[in-house]
Symmetry: C2
Subunit: 300 residues, 2 copies
């Protein structure tokens, strides 16, 4: 068996991701007015576990990718999209959140205009970062277009912004109409799934392997969201490092629709699906096995 | 000499661009909640001259491109970025504009949240639209990555959002510090220039031809902005179809810095530079010649 230790892995990889994000922000800053650059830095260099880049780099290596720095640069592109979505979600006209990971949100610190602009500028920045990084990886120039495509699909309509997650909740379940509200909150699942696919594609993986990682990513992406719903329902604001907004409190979640027991059961089922996808795809990666378990067991 | 008639050209091309935009919006709508789809449609299908797509398609044809529908789909990608920038610029936390082309702005009609979200979703949509369209054009799959790269550069830091236009205002002129404010308003120039480059790249044009069209595009892009400043300074709100905001009125412009006479002179000089770039690049395109003159002579 493996002597893989996830906590150590997350710490070590997290540091390499931070360095890649610092490079990314450093490249953007000279092109921006100082106040916009500061807002962008606030939103991106804001801590967090950097799960998306870590999933991306882990999938990349699981598919035989060998590059170092460029792989983390690719992973950082996913975190830029994540940072955009948090900055915009927190806006007064959206969730009106004042705290995020125990710090003031970007608009709270830098004003609404700069939070809107910094968030939007992260989208093309992420596309460029992914294109540039992927060109230096095993997929080459042609694959770089596919990598950018997958990232932009996840970032836009049908991905983070849209309804694709409806299907994954269970084909035989009649969803309550208000469950659609909950899709808002499930949107991060699309980006988690894309993190895996992007990493695999950049490594030049074969279509069946990319498909297996897509299935793994979709399963843990939804498990992640259900785990989030469970955490929201059972933890205090202090522990979460944010104030649950009225909007949050009124939104229907997997837990409010199906109950805590059923939600936990479904999350475990999804972890099992994720691990089966790895086995079926012939992918041996202790880190991905541990990450799947971690996704539902984490305390945030 | 040519019997080229620009007004007819703009009308005919405009109709084909509208059809491409209708296709683009129609592809996005099924992935979006109905209210978000309505906001996006409001912001995109809002009239206007569609100059950027027309410049893109015209450059594409001037470089020997022969495709029809896919070329307009590529041009539409530039308009999606333009629509995003207008929707966000009009927001209450930005210019707080209530009218745009004589109609209510997107946030005025659909609310602030949907205007922010619809604007942001247009950025990945434009990248995907450009990638997909360019793959069907002369540049092939590898060139599609370059096309997407150029579009995202124009849409982000260093392009529409940033300071690259500073250089173009005149290397030997010491810019007044408050002229930096005016850069905000010049940002559309970056997208006009990109429209030409993207079209040329998609046609598989040679580097010197792309470079010539880049020079043409930069010159008319800046001329366009100066013409805008002149129009803002000399036309009434009624004619412009929008309310000049306080922010607008306080912003320094080419006219406020250099006077009307000098601004007109500089605009004509830039048109001359644009035409020289075409000649030097060996590009024969009556439409591009007429468009350069039109850019500074239009009444909006």
């Amino acid at each position: 068996m493996s002597d893989f230790v996830l906590s150590r892995y997350l710490t070590d990889e997290g540091l390499l991701v931070e360095a890649a994000l610092e490079r990314a922000v450093g490249r953007l800053e000279p092109s921006l007015e100082p106040d916009l650059a500061a807002a962008l830095r606030h939103g991106v260099m804001s801590g967090g576990k950097r799960l998306r880049p870590i999933l991306c780099v882990t999938a990349y290596r699981a598919c035989g990718g060998t590059a170092r720095e460029a792989a983390y640069d690719l992973g950082a592109a996913l975190e830029l999209i994540h940072a955009y979505s948090l900055m915009h979600d927190d806006l007064p006209c959206m969730d009106d959140a004042r705290l995020r990971r125990g710090r003031p949100t970007t608009h709270q610190e830098h004003g609404e205009e700069l939070a809107v602009r910094a968030g939007a500028v992260l989208i093309p920045a992420a596309a460029l970062q992914a294109l540039s990084a992927a060109r230096g990886l095993e997929c080459g120039n042609g694959g770089a277009a596919t990598v950018a495509q997958r990232l932009m699909e996840a970032a836009g309509a049908g991905g983070m912004v849209g309804g694709q997650w409806l299907d994954l909740l269970g084909e035989n379940e009649a969803l309550a109409a208000d469950a659609l509200d909950g899709l808002h909150r499930r949107k991060t699942g699309a980006l988690l799934a894309a993190s895996l696919e992007v990493g695999a594609t950049a490594a030049g993986a074969s279509p069946p392997v990319i498909e297996a990682l897509r299935e793994y990513g979709q399963a843990i992406g939804l498990a992640f969201q259900i785990a989030d719903d469970i955490l929201d329902g059972t933890q205090s604001a202090e522990r979460l490092g944010k104030n649950p907004s009225d909007a949050d409190l009124n939104k229907s979640t997997y837990v409010s629709l199906y109950g805590l027991e059923e939600a936990r059961h479904r999350a475990e089922e999804l972890v099992h699906e994720a691990l089966s996808a790895l086995t079926n795809g012939g992918i041996e990666a202790p880190a991905l096995v541990s990450l799947a378990h971690y996704i539902v067991a984490r305390d945030r």
